[in-house]
Every structure is written in C-alpha cells, then in structure tokens.
C-alpha cells in the first residue's frame, strides 16, 4: 500500500476533521492571545480601540486562516512548498525594489488592502521547503556534502536578502530555524561542530585584530559592535531603552504593580511598549507571577508541538512541526532575552502578544500547518 493510499484511507474527512484538531494547542494559543489583548489595552492607557481591538480582529482572522490551512491536507502543502518558497523569494526581491521604508528599513510591500512583510512570510516558507527537501531526500544522502550545500543555499538566499533590508532579528531567526531543521533532519554532527568552530574563530579573529595592523573591520564598525553588545556604554542613546526596560521588568517584583499601574510603561519611559517591549509591561504590571506564567504557556505550546511532531510518522509533518516550534521558540526566547538585557536589541516581537499584523498571520498559518499535519497524520 502506497503511503498516499494509506493516508487517504485513514485520515478523517469533511467536518469530522474538526474533531481531530489539536484542541489543547488552540486553547493555549487563544490564552496567549488574550493576555496580549489585555496588555495592549493596558499600554494604550485603558483604551480598547488603539491597539487591542485591531489586534483582536487580526487574531480572529488568524484563527480563521489557521482553520482553513488545517482543513487542507498536509500533502497539498508539501507539494506547494517549493512554490511558496519561490513566491516569498520573489516578494523579497520586490520589497528590495519597490518596498516601503519605515524606521530606517525597507520591509513592507503595499498590496492595497494591507501592508505585507515578506520577511515574515519567508519564515514559514523556509521551514516548509526544508521539510519538503528532507522528506524527498533519502536518508542515506542526508549527510553527503552536495546534499548539505543545497539546503544551506536555500537558507542563505533569503537570509542575505532580509539582512539587506536590514532586519538582523529576522535573519538570525531564519538562520537558526534553518540550522535546527537540518540538525533534526539528521545532518551529521560534524557539520554543525565545524560551522560553530569556524564562526567562533572568525568572531575571535575579528575582535583580536582590533587595534593591530591587520584589523579586519573599520573603527566605526567596532564602535557599532560595542554599543550593540553593551548598550549601557551609551546610556542616553541605545542604552536608554534597555535600561528603562530592565527597570520596568525588575520593579514588577513578585506580583507586579497592578493592572494598568505600571509606571514605566504608562509614563512612556518604555520604548516600543506595544510591540517589542510588551513583555516588559506584562512583567511590570503582573510581576514574576505574570512573567513566569506566560513563559509557562509558551513552554506548553512547545510541548504540544514537539509531542505532535514526534508522534507523527510522516517525515514532512514532523520536520515541519519541529521547524514551526523552533521558529516560535526563537521568537519568544530572543524577545525575552533581549528585553531582559541578556542579548542585544534586535527587534523581534513577542509571538501572539506584540501588536502587529504580518507576524500574527504568519504564525497562525504556521500553526494551521501544524494542525493540518496533526489531522492528516498517518494512522
């Protein structure tokens, strides 16, 4: 019995598919989104229409899209993976040529009814194409150099284009998610170890060369790296935001300062309080309990995703789910580490909570794929 025949025969069809959805995952997503609405309502100073209401509408739309994606069989999505990847590349090219600039970066495409951010789209299509590639590639060839170079190219092309926008955060996310996909797919350890060693050596060389006659970068580039790595050396510029962010987070204490009582966010000491720094508002107003709760919810989402991936005997499905889970993990981990001053500020939103349309929709599509893989898994 062919694999396809097998799946067609045993998967649920029609309305019955709804019963086979991963419901705990949906409940968790809604819970996180609701926390997001609450925080958006709070940072708008108790105003629903500023941010919370548009966000609710987007989430509702996102849920619809997710269900739609979930209803479509996973093999369809596998078959359009390459197409999706090519389309997102084309959009990235388009954004470089005719994109709209904002905040010093060229990231958006105006497509009439909404502004599209192709760098968001590529997060999901990259995961899809890599999953499809390794699904197609016989296991015996996975670690052969030729077959390793191909996925590396698949990853690096969009990464380079996103980096040009410039959007460091998304580039890192894509790179990390792609790397993890390759790792999970079974590429030999030695590749990863050697890449990590090479990168370390390069970074070491760059820093070591500073002030010598074989200096690898210009002085101003070093200064940029300095402030990037340690914003506190520039307390009124880059350091101001991270300092205020840490003050807000730390002043939350055990139980926080109370809903809508966070002074740092309410009095505008916090930058980007409705997008990248919304976690800080949460931590300020609901304290350690609030912050650890949302971390717990994210962890549960990961647990459900990973267990769904491991329980799925379809290689494409499990790779895809792991890729989505990894992307999701990177989103919130990088965001939290960033606002806590553990890593430089790179501009990554908190998934499902930060205000923003493209990121939310892409995430919901990604979870739609997870649901589709879950519904249509081989039984």
């Amino acid at each position: 019995m062919s694999y396809l025949e097998h799946t067609v025969k045993t998967t649920p069809n029609g309305v019955r598919k709804i019963l086979f959805l991963n419901w705990p995952l949906i409940v968790l997503l809604v819970a996180v989104a609701c926390i997001g609405f609450l925080m958006l309502y709070s940072v708008a100073g108790g105003n629903l229409s500023t941010w919370a209401e548009p966000q609710m509408k987007r989430f509702a739309l996102g849920l619809g899209v997710m269900l739609f994606v979930a209803m479509v069989p996973i093999w369809f999505w596998r078959n359009v993976s390459l197409l999706g990847y090519l389309i997102s590349l084309a959009l990235l090219v388009a954004v470089a040529l005719i994109g709209i600039e904002g905040k010093g970066a060229q990231r958006w495409l105006d497509i009439g009814f909404m502004r599209l951010q192709p760098s968001e789209l590529v997060k999901i299509t990259l995961v899809m194409i890599l999953a499809a590639y390794y699904d197609w590639l016989p296991l015996s060839r996975v670690s052969r150099p030729v077959w390793v170079v191909i996925p590396v190219a698949i990853i690096l092309v969009p990464v380079a284009m996103v980096l040009r926008q410039p959007d460091l955060g998304t580039s890192i996310l894509l790179l990390a998610a792609g790397g993890v996909m390759m790792f999970v797919a079974g590429v030999h350890w030695a590749y990863f170890v050697s890449v990590i060693l090479a990168l370390s050596a390069l970074i070491f060389a760059v820093f070591e060369s500073r002030g010598t006659d074989w200096q690898l970068l210009e002085n101003y580039q070093y200064r940029r790296i300095d402030t990037f790595l340690d914003p506190e050396i520039d307390p009124l510029g880059a350091g101001y935001h991270i300092t205020q962010s840490k003050i807000a987070l730390g002043s939350g204490g055990w139980t926080g300062r109370g809903f809508m009582q966070g002074t740092q966010s309410r009095l505008n000491f916090l930058p980007e309080k409705h997008t990248d720094f919304i976690f800080v508002t949460l931590a300020e107003e609901f304290g350690f309990i609030g912050a650890i709760s949302i971390l717990g919810l994210y962890a549960l989402i990961l647990v459900f995703c990973i267990s769904a991936a491991l329980a799925n005997r379809d290689r494409y499905s499990s790779l895809l789910i792991l890729g989505v889970a990894m992307t999701f993990f990177l989103f919130f981990a990088v965001n939290m580490a960033m606002v806590m001053g553990l890593m430089p500020v790179v501009g990554v939103p908190l998934p499902l909570v930060s205000y923003g349309g493209s990121a939310m929709l892409v995430l919901m599509v990604a979870f739609g794929l997870v649901q589709s893989a879950h519904i249509h898994k081989p039984r």
């Binding site: 296991l139 790792f183 999970v184 003050i247 730390g250 002074t263 792991l322 580490a337």
Partner: protein, 647 residues
C-alpha cells in the same frame, strides 16, 4: 512517492532523537530565562523599584505667600495682589504666529516681551509654558478667557505680586522686593532651593530685606508624577509650606503720608518718635521714589533719573544720612558741663561775638555778640561763645560720653538698610582715624555740633526723646510679628540729674516760646500742646580765612550744595512729652527758617492725629497754613477711597 519502510523507521528514530535534543536545549534556555526573571524581579526588585520611582517622581517647591506689612493701626503698607499673566504652550498652540496675532487683537502686547517669548517658544521644549504678557489687567485676562476656544495653548495665569499701595511714602522704610539676582545668590551661603524658582522675589532693601527671614515663610513641596517627556501627569502628595509672618510696623500711615507730602520739593528727612515707647511714628526721606517700580523691574531710564537726581532720592536720609548736628548738639554740651560740675546754671559767660582759642578766632553766629549769657539764655539764643567756653571747661571726653548716653554715635538696631552710627568723637578716635592728636579747637567745634561730630535725624530724635523723658528711649520699628507684640523701647532712667534736665527743657521751651527764642516764629499757641525745641544750622563748607576777614558770605548767595543744613529738634507737649521730632533740611539754610516750620507742622499733625485747627498756629501764620493744608490734603493719598486699604 514510495519510500522503503525501513528508511522511514530510521528517519523516525533520528528525528525523535534529535527532536528531543532540541527540546532539551529549549528547556535549558527557558530555564535560563526564568532564572534571569527571578533574579531581576525577586532579588533586585527593590533596587529597580527605586529606580522606577526616581524616574517618575519629581519634587516641586510651592513658594510661600510673603508676609504682609501693616501700619500701627492695621492699615496696609505692603500686600500681595493677584497678578495676571498670559502664557503660551507651543505644543497646544500649533501655529504660534497665528495665535499670537489673534492674541494681539485682544491684549496689548509689549514688543520686547513678545520678542523674548517668540525666542523661548522656539527654543524651549514644546510643553513649556512661556510668558507672553506679564502684569496684564483683569479686563485683558477676561477677554482672553472668553476667547479661549479661538486661542489654543494660551493660558491666563494668576500669581501673587507685591504691591505698596502708598507708593512713595514707605520706599525708604519698607523698601521693596525684586527677583533674586545672581548677586543675591552669591551673598547668601547655601541659598534655599526656593530662591532659584523663576519669578520668586526677595526683599532687596529696607525692612523687606532686613526681615526677609520673617516675611518669606517656608516653601511647601509637592511630589508629582512626570512622564518620560517630563510632563506632569498628576500630583501624588503635597506638603503645605508656612506663609511668611505678617508684620505690623510702628509707623502711622496718615502721619507718614503727611510728612512725605510736607517735605515735597525739599531734600530733607524727618523722624517722629513716640516718647513713651520709642515707636518710630514717621520716618521720611525726601525726595522719595515709588517702590512698585522696582518690583516690576525698573527701566534703565527711570533708574538713571533716580541716580542723577541731585536731591538723591535713593538713600534713606532719615537713618543713613549723617549731618553735623549744629546747635542741636548744644543740649549735649550743656548737660555734659552741668553734670560734670564745670558750670552752674546761673554762671554767666560774656559773649563779645568771638573767642580766641590757641591763637585762632572762633566766631559766634551773632557778630555783635550776645553779651552776658547763662545756660538758659545761651540755649534760647544759641550763643556759640558760651559753648566754646563750656568745651574748655568740660573736656571732650565728658561731652562725647554724654552724646553717647543721649543716643548720638550709637548705632540703633532698626530693621532698615544702612542705619548709620554717626560719630561722637573722642581723642582716641581722632588719633586712630586721623593720625593727629586732639586739639582744643576740636573741642570748641564739637561743642557747637560742628567739626567731627555727626548724627542722623533718627539719632537726633532719640536724643530729644531722651532729653524729654530722662529715659534711654530706644527706637522701635516693628510693633508686632503675626500679632505678637514686640518689646518696646521705653527704656530705663538715664540716671541724669532731673533738675538739670528740667532746666535744659525749660531753655528748649524758651527757644520756641520766648520772643527772643530762635524758633519763636514757629511756635505752637495751643497751650496744651506747647512745644520745646532747638534750632541748628550746620556748616557744610570750611570758612576760608579770607572770609573770616571780610565777613561770611550770606547763605543765599552760595550755590545750593554749599549752603548750610537746616536742623530742628523738638518735643511736645512740653508738660507731658509725647512726641519727639527731628528735621533736617539739606542745604536748607537756617534751622529756624527752613527746619522749624516743618517740625512744627509735623508735631501738630502728630498731636492732633489729623490736620490741626488753625487756632494752634500764631495768627500771622494762619492764612498761609490754611492754603498749605489744603494743598497737602490734595497731595497725599487718602485712605479708604478707591483702593482697599484696610487689612
């Protein structure tokens, strides 16, 4: 696509293994995040909370209301009145120029002020209120308020501003307040933060400056929450300050106003003391100026005019002006000689019109001489030779000591600016300050109030009060602080021989009431209010030897600044002294003609508490006095009309 099941199973195992590795990595990272959160939110929470509060909480000062000043009857001397100004906030205004042109149609805007405001509006942060017009009228403010919808960002504001309703009358006593200057801040060590508030005013001169500590009060504070842009969001709490103490001074508004009006046109000073308490009832220096000009910030032209006026309006001549007392000093010499036993009441000295002292000829003012003079006659007719003789007998140390007992050469601690010490010279003083030994001629000059001896009108009034009461009356300026009565200057008995004092007083009575007295023309004819006085004429210049030979040039022929100062001291009523008065008219000529009439008018005004009846004056003076009274009534501010005057 077909796939060998074995391959599939191997793939499944590898995915599972590596998936778990990744999962483990994720758990590790999340653990690290949770630990970091725990560290920041639990271990360092207090520290961050403090930083957050430092961010948001600003402490602002609330300036206290300055204490008011009232006269002895509780009538306002210095008060705080609402002052209106118009401010503008750029952020709210939008098009600044448009709003200003609209505002200009409603309110008269000063070009200079507007220029400054425009500059500030451009330079300062958008939410800073900038004063566009200061001290605008209530009408203008109401017009602005009524048109508020058309004037976004324009705010009428009200503050308190010092006002001196009696204008010139109290300029020298009370002084004025003004904005804190850099020089003020340098002068005060560790200045209060309050002084750095914009628009805060402190006493610059006079009572306002000397009792700044009482009048200022203490600042309150309010803690406000500000946002990242520094804008005040709300008030968290407020601690009220202490308003400044209200002071009641011993002066009487009506008398003070009268004295000021009476001195108009002269460069003169008058002090009126209450003989019983030492209360300064009037203290005037003419010409005066309007202290309100200084509160507002005086214009350069106005200030120049005050500085250039030859009559010197700025210094307070009544307490900081020092003059040779002239013949008003003769009571001191006489009393010193009598107390020392150097002369008896009946002893006579022959006055030929001059006296030779160590080869120099000392003249009496009366060239022809007075003939035989005893103490009574010498005071009444102000014979100089008699006092030259007394000086020889008594010695300068006795005279100087008596002068100090009577208040000359003593610095009284009155809360006014630059209260002068004057000078009662001694041998030691001359040696120390002039480097020359005392000569007998110096004693002769001192005896008639010339030479080194110097006294302020205040000191002369104190001397007169002490002569009149035999007590060491001390002047007092502050009657009460916040309703708490201050100690009076009643004074202990001076310990002088009362019989001798009585003779001195009788002689002073004769000065004013005997037809041979030097001030007979300026007498009071109302029996209950007879006054006793003494004229004085003090030389400003040295008389040259040429003049001595040819005769002294008449005063009227001299340029003003070389003419003699005219002085007069008196107390009244003679039987039960209530008031002591000292008058100095700078370069006024003779004490009997220039100073005595003023002293009489002021004394009568004090005695009656209002314009005295013409019957108190000798009949020849009455027509002149009548017109003078009418003129002065018009000239001085009448209380209770128009301006609210009572506290």
């Amino acid at each position: 696509m077909r796939r060998p099941p074995r391959d599939n199973a191997a793939s499944q195992r590898r995915v599972t293994r590596r998936g778990l590795v990744i999962g483990g990595l994720q758990v590790g990272i999340m653990g690290a995040l949770a630990l970091r959160m725990r560290h920041m939110q639990l271990d360092q929470a207090d520290q961050f909370r403090l930083l957050a509060d430092e961010n948001r909480i600003n402490i602002q000062l609330i300036p206290p209301t300055r204490g008011r000043i009232f006269d002895r009857e509780g009538r306002v001397v210095a008060e705080n009145v609402p002052s209106y100004r118009i401010t503008m906030v750029r952020e709210q205004a939008g098009d600044v120029d448009d709003i200003i042109s609209r505002l200009a149609r409603l309110v008269e805007l000063d070009a200079g002020e507007l220029e400054k405001a425009r500059r500030e509006l451009q330079e300062l942060r958008g939410d800073t209120p900038v004063t566009v017009a200061d001290r605008v009228t209530w009408d203008a403010i109401s017009r602005v308020a009524a048109n508020a919808p058309a004037l976004p960002g324009v705010h009428p504001e009200v503050g308190l501003s010092r006002r001196y309703p009696l204008h010139e009358d109290y300029a020298h006593v009370v002084g004025y307040v003004g904005p804190v200057s850099d020089r003020d801040l340098e002068r005060i060590d560790a200045p209060e933060q309050l002084l750095r508030l914009p628009r805060f005013q402190i006493g610059k001169i006079g009572l306002e400056a000397r009792r700044e500590n009482l009048l200022r009060g203490s600042a309150g504070t309010r803690r406000v929450e500000v946002n990242a842009a520094g804008r005040v969001m709300r008030e968290l709490n407020r601690q009220e300050g202490e308003p400044g103490a209200d002071l009641q001074i011993t002066l009487d508004n009506e008398l003070q106003s009268y004295v000021n009006a009476r001195l108009a046109g002269e460069s003169a000073a008058v002090v009126v003391l209450d003989c019983d308490s030492g209360d300064v009832l009037a203290c005037a220096s003419s010409p005066s100026y309007d202290p309100n000009l200084f509160v507002r910030g005086i214009s350069v032209a106005d200030y120049r005019a005050l500085l250039d006026n030859p009559y010197r309006p700025l210094p307070n001549k009544a307490v900081q002006g020092i003059y040779p007392p002239g013949s008003t000093f003769k009571m001191v010499t006489a009393l010193a000689a009598l107390e020392a036993g150097a002369v008896t009441l009946d002893e006579t000295v022959y006055c030929p019109g001059h006296m030779e002292i160590s080869g120099r000829r000392f003249h009496c003012w009366k060239r022809a001489g007075h003939g035989n003079m005893n103490l009574h006659l010498s005071l009444r007719e102000s014979c100089d030779v008699y006092y030259y003789d007394l000086a020889m007998r008594t010695g300068i140390e006795n005279i100087s000591a008596m002068a100090k007992r009577l208040g000359l050469g003593v610095q009284f601690d009155l809360p006014m600016t630059s209260v002068a010490q004057g000078l009662a010279p001694t041998r030691d003083w001359k040696l120390a300050n002039r480097g020359e030994p005392w000569v007998i001629g110096d004693s002769a000059n001192t005896a008639i109030g010339q030479g080194f001896v110097l006294a302020s009108p205040l000191q002369l009034a104190v001397m007169t009060a002490r002569l009149a009461t035999s007590r060491s009356v001390t002047p007092r300026l502050i009657k009460s602080v916040n309703g708490v009565e201050q100690p009076t200057g009643h004074g202990e008995d001076l310990g002088l021989n009362e019989n001798l004092l009585r003779e001195i007083r009788r002689a002073m009575f004769a000065v004013s009431n005997s037809n041979r007295g030097t001030a007979y023309r300026s007498r009071i004819v109302e029996d209950a209010f007879r006054m006793a006085g003494k004229t004085g004429t003090s030389q400003v210049r040295n008389i040259s030897s040429g003049e001595r030979a040819t005769g002294v040039v008449r005063n009227e022929a001299l340029p003003r600044e070389q003419r003699d100062h005219a002085l007069f001291v008196d107390f009244a009523p003679f039987d039960a002294p209530k008031y002591a008065v000292a008058v100095v008219v700078e370069h006024g000529g003779g004490g009997s003609t220039a100073a005595a009439p003023i002293a009489r008018d002021v004394t009568l005004q004090a005695l009656y508490g209002e314009d005295p009846p013409l019957a108190a004056y000798p009949s020849v003076d009455r027509p002149r006095i009548k017109t003078q009274q009418e003129q002065l009534r018009k000239a001085r501010p009448r209380p209770g009309r128009g301006e609210s005057d009572r506290a």
